[in-house]
Symmetry: C2
Subunit: 571 residues, 2 copies
């Protein structure tokens, strides 16, 4: 048998953008053909974008997607690419087209092969994930059969994402059919440490079908999800023969040899764990801006670490010249904080305005005469009004700067510091915020300027705009004790356990779903456990009103962790 | 065979309140026994409350629910009620207890019979709804067998809610077993017109098993759902023999005769359609307050119809003396508006404060110098700060007063008039807002005072605190042209189609999922269709940041209509 050459087209699609996504497929198909590929494989739901949520239930959307798949097949052939096998994902609508009630006959998550001017072969995803961020059972019906097709005498079996995460189903069927390669298309969202898990599960399936496996993953941000790409190929014995880089669009080629073995190809190196998470956050923001047509951002700069890290990420996403940093000192803000905010803005080349809130606070207090927490919240809300005024008047996206620790504990003011359309670090615990700030400074010292991250839209991996003195985030913002500065001498540690401890309890309670007895058995003291559990349980309501932000851990707030707002249960 | 007497215990549970829910079961079991019942039937997931969302995935919660069911069985027997058959819903945890990964072995939605001091019989829900507001496939695994049990020589088949909405499954199995009665426990959320649909589907199942059907539904508000009760019994031929009232807790009895036929019992009358929706909104608010321990509310009173209706609902929910109405006139507020707000507050006996926003607006503008929409939003956001200041300083729940028409079109200011923890009319189109205001005034004229609604916590149906002159909502608030009053002479109709037209387009686009071509075929003109679709598609992001509010229509924003925030698709 002859060799066969595959292209892995790891692209960034936009949900609902049928025209743009199809154009990108056309572009990558041309590039793949030029490099000698016979088969080009795109991610899950290429044409529609992923995840499409309830758009799947709109008949007009399904019709438009079907028309677009046919258009694309014709267009490929007209461009002389009719011989190429183009594997793309889309939404299937057979049942709905048969006139059945969409509640009884939902659409499918479909893989199609475009070839010879037609939509040539179809496979419907069998296992529909409906846990964590996934809601596929809600919107799709399950496919009932496995599919393999022949290309130049070689038999290709196909599967979609979750199909390889569960035993049985289509891969078990394909194992009986002696396929030559298992082609999988995926929309697997990023989370810390997932690269390793993906590779393990793929190795298991390669062994099951006794053939190499191709794993093509989507890249890019979509709402609160970030897809990291990192597509790869394993040989039948699980050996890594190809790996695409994370966070950038990519077209890698790989050859299945005449002997049925995968020939070695390029292998992108692993990223440092801090670099990986930081990059995920920047890509989430950059793509959220691009897909919602924002070119700039605004945010409050307090001089603290959270707003400093968010500003740094924003500069990396859209360039410092498109960042509006607003210092909003109150009567309780320290001089150090104001200096740190100004230094940060200067380092990243951001616009920097000072808007003191004291005159506004005095005007409100003349009417309202508030005390205690109500007076503290008033300061935060005046700042919220100012940030939104910048957003409205300059047409830029307001960024919320809250981290996961304070979000979990409700240590923020709703409609105050929590305002914004996107929250870049909402899935990072405070201790991680410090780690990432330190990593970004190390990268700056090593020469990585603003925009030097290798992400979608910046694929070249150039070092970016140089930082003055090679410093990005003022060291003082990283090392000083955290404070909301809403009353004299206030420190976060007045209200919360120290973050080093708090974050460990939060990880156990939220990520690992430990109950009270488990937490005590983990060795945490009773007072800390009860404090943290009370804060977290009370804060559920606030979290519902937080803006979107990228998911980077296994269990983020949002579509992952969904608990009733009203609940009397305490663990 | 002898007669057998059933009690339908239509109760209001709270999610997570295992102790409170179990105590209520005990109380109603005593009352049922006193009235001669041999079997008492409670709603779906009685012990846990419903819907429990991801609480189902917490092992500590499942363990606590299991312990509570056993405690309750023992307690019933100790109280001399061991002979009674007590049918309750709870969460099943067999698979998880077997040590399996909860992702592979999810819990079940379970019905248990408490009898003779033990948890005596169990049935697991077969059909798991995962559409609209339901996410059960996410959290439960499906039961695989039907269950019938004998009481005094009569055979009782059981089913849980969705089990009767779909063909096949446990009811089809029971049809072969010659059961004497089909007992169903339900958590069926309210929506307009659903009473009729429930009765039709129940009649179908009664015919299928050729026996009477008992339908016990939950009552009360839970987050953004309202359960209306309205439990009922149909004879084998579909005839209505018992109906419990809507929106109140209730214990009704019904007898299955020696001849196998249902004996006629009490039948609560139907409510007027406007009364039904109004009552659903008030119960949603009242229960949200009770279950989150709020005793009062605050809201801005503009003199317009939206805030007037919300204030009226609030007075009905918690009494006018617990309502803080805040008039926040700007330089553009008309005298008429200020008078209407004051009249409304006086009518319902609310606290009434005037907080002019002009001095605050001037203070902000001195720093920010905003124009156009940014300046309009500033006014709304200053009001938002004031409303939240009242909420914080008085410890009361802030109410957002937005309706579904403006919410759908994005005609509101995020962090401005949209602030609040609960939005009582977020699922009412503007034209419906006017209708409900007129209905409430007719009810007031007919003698229904504040708190005169028959809802949970006010079961007696007393007419309530009399209204001065028998008027609740100032007629002027109902009849005048709607205006946001954010610039001189502004009218809603400057930016939006007239509401009579807009609401019809919104109903077609949102509720009936019509695409652009359908809307044109519906007879709407192209300009209106394009305007409305553009507004609705753009507003998706804002809607994510709105507070909770009760669902009353088939398709509300929130858990029902979930579209990606980022999407380039236009229908």
């Amino acid at each position: 048998m002859s060799e066969i050459r595959f292209a892995l087209a790891q692209i960034d699609t936009c949900v609902g953008d049928l025209d743009g996504n199809a154009d990108k497929v056309l572009d990558y198909a041309h590039r793949a053909a030029k490099r000698g590929a016979e088969v080009v494989v795109f991610p899950e739901m290429t044409l529609t974008g992923y995840p499409i949520e309830d758009l799947a239930l709109r008949a007009t959307f399904r019709k438009a997607a079907w028309d677009k798949a046919n258009w694309l097949a014709v267009e490929l052939a007209a461009d002389g690419l009719g011989d190429l096998y183009v594997v793309v994902g889309t939404v299937g609508s057979a049942a709905a087209e048969a006139g059945q009630d969409p509640r009884d006959a939902k659409p499918t998550n479909r893989l199609v092969v475009l070839h010879d001017g037609v939509v040539w072969s179809g496979y419907d995803k069998h296992f529909l994930p409906n846990y964590g961020v996934f809601d596929e059972f809600r919107i799709f019906s399950s496919g009932g059969r496995s599919v393999a097709f022949e290309v130049n005498g070689r038999k290709l079996g196909v599967a979609i994402c979750e199909d390889i995460w569960q035993d049985g189903g289509p891969v078990a069927e394909l194992a009986k059919e002696h396929i030559d390669v298992l082609v999988t298309i995926n929309g697997s969202p990023y989370e810390e440490g997932k690269t390793h898990v993906r590779r393990e599960i793929a190795a298991k399936r390669a062994a099951e079908v006794n053939a190499p496996i191709i794993y093509v993953n989507q890249v890019g941000g979509q709402d609160d999800l970030v897809f990291d790409g990192g597509s790869f190929v394993l040989d039948a014995d699980g050996a890594l023969v190809e790996r695409s880089p994370q966070f950038v669009e990519d077209l890698s080629l790989f050859t299945l040899g005449a002997d049925g073995r995968a020939l070695p190809s390029t292998i992108a190196p692993d990223l440092d764990p801090d670099e990986e998470v930081y990059t995920a956050c920047v890509l989430g923001l950059k793509d959220y801006m691009a897909k919602n047509r924002f070119t700039g951002v605004c945010l409050g700069l307090s001089g603290g670490i959270d707003s400093a890290l968010v500003a740094a990420m924003a500069a990396d996403a859209c360039g410092g010249a498109n960042v509006w940093g607003i210092s909003m000192p109150s009567m309780y803000s320290s001089d150090g904080s104001k200096d740190d905010a100004a230094d940060l803005a200067r380092n990243i080349g951001a616009h920097y305005d000072v808007q003191p809130i004291e005159p506004l606070f005095v005007a409100f207090q003349r009417q309202l005469d508030l005390h205690d927490v109500a007076a503290e919240n008033l300061q935060a809300r005046i700042r919220g009004v100012i940030v939104m005024a910048y957003s409205n008047s300059k047409g830029v996206l307001a960024l919320a700067t809250g981290n996961k620790s304070e979000l979990a504990c409700g240590y923020s003011t709703i409609y105050g510091d929590a305002v914004g359309g996107y929250a870049p670090i909402k899935d990072l615990l405070k201790t991680r915020v410090w780690e990432l700030a330190r990593w970004r400074n190390r990268a700056a010292a090593a020469g990585m300027g603003i925009g030097g991250l290798r992400i979608v839209g910046n694929e070249s991996g150039e070092p970016g705009v140089a930082l003055p003195d090679g410093v990005m985030i003022p060291v003082n913002s990283i090392t000083k004790a955290p404070s909301a500065e809403l009353r004299p001498g206030q420190k976060d540690s007045d209200s919360l356990p120290e973050y080093a401890l708090l974050d460990r309890v939060l990880a156990a309670y939220i990520e690992h779903a430990h109950g009270r007895a488990d937490l005590l058995a983990d060795g945490f003291d009773e007072k800390t456990v009860d404090t943290v559990m009370r804060l977290v349980d009370r804060a559920e309501w606030k979290r519902r009103q937080y803006p979107l932000g990228p998911k980077v851990t296994a269990l983020a707030f949002g579509r992952d962790r969904r608990l009733p707002v009203t609940s009397a249960f305490r663990e």
